[in-house]
Symmetry: C2
Subunit: 201 residues, 2 copies
């Protein structure tokens, strides 16, 4: 599984990583609309043109940033899932609870939700949310298939997309506590996963 990465790819990856980290730092302090590309480049210790060369445009960078941050959440979800490979229903609950809790506490997510206008990042998870939904769905699908290889791919994807959409919904319009939501959703989707995975609670 471990392969040495050739220098060019590694350098490129490092560059992206550095720029995205700089972007995160900025977004944690001010609204997206008040942050300039020049500032991000400067914070990363790189020229503005390098930023453009790597990401193409401001909007594309925003997309990449949101997905990159999402990656952090999904890593945690992965871990939560792996701790409940024996009990799919509990896995769903743990995954959702982990996600909602960390997202709810994350300063970046708070800012994202508070900056309403068209200029902000919020549309990237609502009206223009499809890229994020599809990316997260693909990622979660992979996690599920890895944890339960016997699951039919179509059903894994179905479950993943529903979880992604429900998770986003609960983050943007929060009602009950993460635990309550996790419990309910586990109950709701439990019968489906029991059937799909051929395992009983």
């Amino acid at each position: 599984m471990e392969t040495r990465t050739p220098y060019p790819q590694a350098a490129r990856r490092l560059l992206r990583e550095t720029l995205l980290a700089a972007g995160r730092d900025e977004v944690q302090q001010r609204a997206w609309s008040e942050i300039t590309m020049a500032e991000i480049a400067a914070a990363a210790g790189v020229s503005r043109q390098t930023l453009y060369k790597e990401f193409g445009s401001r909007d594309e960078f925003a997309q990449a940033l949101v997905i990159h941050e999402g990656e952090r959440f999904l890593d945690q979800v992965d871990t939560a899932v792996r701790e409940h490979l024996d009990d799919p229903r509990a896995a769903i609950g743990a995954a959702l609870e982990t996600f909602l809790r960390t997202a709810g506490e994350d300063p970046l997510v708070r800012i994202l939700l508070s900056d309403d206008g068209t200029a902000g990042l919020l549309p990237l998870v609502t009206t223009q949310g499809m890229p994020v939904v599809q990316w997260a769905t693909a990622r979660l699908t992979a996690t599920i298939e890895q944890g339960w290889p016997q699951a039919p791919p179509a059903k894994a994807r179905l479950l993943a997309e529903a979880l992604v959409r429900l998770a986003i919904s609960h983050v943007t319009a929060p009602g009950e506590s993460p635990e309550a939501i996790a419990k309910s959703t586990g109950e709701l989707l439990g019968p489906f996963v029991d059937e799909a995975l051929g395992q009983a609670t």
Copy 2:
């Protein structure tokens, strides 16, 4: 079931209905931020003060308008559900498909989704969406309980809220076709409803 409504209530209801209808007509043409309370009142053939007396403020009117329009969609959902009382799984599919199709074609919904900013109506179904979610959930829960009295209330509510959130998600960030979504979601939630209602397909 049929009771004569006393005049005062009837008049009040007629007033609200007329104002909301006027509001809908306006919103179908321009963005919410460009519509004034005076125009709505005029379109309803009523004075501005009557509007304020009835709805309190611009924001409250917006809330009422969104819910009132939602009522139209949920009426259709009700009908769709009632046509499949023998098959809960099909009922879910029909309900979602009906909702997504009519919502997708509705000019009002299109405008709602295109007007991003804080000034628009969109936040009422996303970041400030809880009132709408709760209202729609309560309404759908009632429909389910009426159609399947044997269903445990908690499970009916659980199912209803998930359907509401998924429906909103699919309207704001549309991916597949209404039919495909309806089919998938029916499949996803089927096992749960089978269990909750004690009926097999």
